[in-house]
Symmetry: C2
Subunit: 404 residues, 2 copies
């Protein structure tokens, strides 16, 4: 498996585009994206666990009941959530796409991201649909990515290449996500394309096996959004024998999907609103997988620890504090914690007690922009990884005045 360029257009048979439709007002930023497969795709998705769900999620769920889709339409600037006519609007958007592409509206996946509870107009979708469709092209992945970003500062576009049955296969992905990021599910839009041939039932299983250890292990601010959605489309053009059971090819594709989802998760965490650092907590030695996950998430979710990382302050007591309030049973007196970055590693805690370390070296380590927190519970064989970011002035600035 290797990383390649091209994003969602790296797999065969996918085109994409992203344009300025002025859904975000008069700003000259892309805010409407379309992804289309030349042929029908097996499709699978996961959605936010928030009780408040964006109208597009309801419509997309209906459209995916048959496990098939051909296109994804997504706007930024308005979440189309808590609007009384939201579902009607989401259906009308699908109809516009279906008409323009001459496909069934049931094969269109719709997603929205932006402010919740703002009236949304169909007009920008209607007046820009021809332009959006006309511009579809095999190099359009980055345009599509730009169209779904909100407070994101960096595009998140990845692709990998691997082989099944001697056939070259691809997975490509774009994602948006910067604030309102917290499991479950953590909390973004991600669109993954593939040219692998796989049944929609197997694709659905695969998605639900991969998400718990990837997207659901990301937190930026503890707020689970209303519009999260991960969609995977697989159009089969790679020509492998269709995956219909959990065989070796299933395992290989799952490995590739896992890899893509880890890259997206890291990208989202690193681009958390206002973030200057990617924080990765790797917990080992837990007596269950669940405990390992809870501890890792607890550490990267702690506001105090996140603020300390922004300040390059090796205030490891806050790590231990966050481990300590995890809702899980383990012996706190066995806990060992190391902090590291590419310049080196230092130990801060053994058997739940502090150990001496060089403050100068600690500052050097924590000045880097990717910090690893290794936690060993010394209580078993399970491990987990969670991704987060530091808490900064800019998080407050961005969110103190988001609507204006």
């Amino acid at each position: 498996m290797k990383n390649i360029k091209g994003g969602i257009c790296a797999p065969q048979g996918f085109k994409a585009n992203g344009i300025v439709a002025h859904i975000r007002g008069n700003k000259d930023v892309k805010d409407l994206s379309l992804i289309v497969s030349d042929v029908p795709c097996s499709a699978a998705a996961t959605y936010t666990t928030n009780k408040v769900k964006g109208a597009p999620l309801t419509v997309t769920k209906q459209h995916l009941e048959d496990g098939q889709a051909k296109a994804i339409i997504c706007n930024s600037g308005n979440a189309n959530t808590c609007n009384s006519n939201g579902i009607e609007l989401a259906n009308q958007v699908c109809d516009l796409v279906a008409d323009a592409l001459s496909i069934d509206a049931n094969d269109v996946i719709v997603a929205s991201t932006g402010v919740i509870g703002q009236p949304m107009s169909l007009e920008p979708f209607a007046s820009h649909m021809d332009e959006l469709v006309a511009g579809l092209n095999v190099n359009g992945s980055m345009d599509a990515e730009l169209g779904i970003m909100t407070t994101d500062t960096k595009p998140k576009e990845f692709a990998v290449e691997f082989e099944l049955d001697g056939k070259v296969c691809h997975l490509g992905a774009i994602a948006k996500g910067s604030g309102m990021i917290h499991p479950n599910m953590a909390t973004m839009l991600a669109f993954v394309t593939s040219d692998v041939a796989i049944s929609s039932a197997m694709l659905d299983e695969m998605v639900h096996e991969v998400v718990p250890d990837t997207f659901n292990m990301v937190s930026v601010d503890g707020d689970t959004s209303t519009n999260d959605m991960l969609v995977v489309l697989a159009n089969g053009l790679a020509g492998n024998a269709v995956i219909t059971t959990k065989d070796d090819n299933y395992a290989l594709m799952k490995e590739a999907l896992f890899d893509i989802c880890v890259q997206l998760s890291q990208g989202i965490a690193k681009d958390g609103e206002g973030a200057t650092k990617l924080l990765t907590c790797h917990t080992v030695g837990a007596s269950t997988k669940e405990i390992a996950k809870k501890v890792a998430k607890s550490v990267i979710t702690s506001s105090l620890f996140k603020a300390a990382m922004f300040g390059k302050d090796a205030n490891w007591g806050r790590i231990l504090c966050a481990i300590g309030y995890t809702d899980a049973e383990f012996d706190i007196n066995r806990v060992e914690v190391d902090l590291s970055s590419r310049v080196g590693k230092f130990k801060v805690c053994v058997n739940g007690m502090g150990v001496e370390f060089s403050e100068d070296f600690a500052l050097e380590v924590l000045t880097e922009d990717e910090i690893l927190i290794d936690v060993d519970l010394h209580s078993g064989d399970y491990e987990a990884t969670a991704w987060g970011c530091d808490l900064t002035y800019d998080y407050v600035k961005i969110n103190g005045d988001y609507r204006t």
Copy 2:
């Protein structure tokens, strides 16, 4: 019942003091406090639920096994937590107090607050104990309060007067708490004194009845601290018949304790690190008390909503989002939300959908420093209140560089 002055020295028979012992380094700030009753007290306490517990909590729990105490010693500047010799140190501090007051070390309650995992020296306690004891006086409540504060910007000192059996009774309290504030228990040190005569068993029951709806409903930053402790001492000098059952007098004293704990909770939330606003979420119409509490806490814990309040931004979608990710079952489509302050009230959401409001008036309402969020779930008769604060640049500043 009425509010009075005097704090922990308002009840008869209590003296207090707070001095500069240089536990916080060379800073010229009070960091060591002592509260003493002239006579033995019934005593009860609750503690943090964090698995990492400060050494003083272990020692205090042992000393309160008999339900009796006479003195409370508390330092700021060092949490005495995760130190290998922490319990030994906490015991030595109690011994110093016991010697200086000629009382049993078992009657001394010990508490610490400050940085976790820093070595602590007995020296400042030993060298300042005579000064601390010599200065004990009936006007010492505020000095004691100053000695336990860390990043607090405002002292939290309250007292109430009420009658039992025609006898004038008092409850007084001081508290510290500003960051690392989150249920359970939320997350501070609070010392309450009283001259009511009550058995330690009844006092213990009362504390555990009052805390779930007061301190456990406060959140500043979602981080449950390692050193939380609420201690109530009641010395009986008011001369009422000793409360030994849950009779009318129990109910009256509980009402007074509830009132004091609400005032302390509001004081802690309002003085949350970096806070400019007190946020109070009052949830009604829930089908269970537990759901009402979870919803209220979810709203005042949301980083996104807290940041929006700092920005005076009526971004109510974030309130609905936080209600929506509450881990509880209810119908989101019945939810109604109002925002208000002393200048007025406006409705933002009915039946889970947005309603129009004047942005100008919203700005006027949200410019105030105490904001009320009324949530009606329209699903039952239970209600709950939670207290929090806005998320500001200063929270990040304070916590980005706390140790230096």
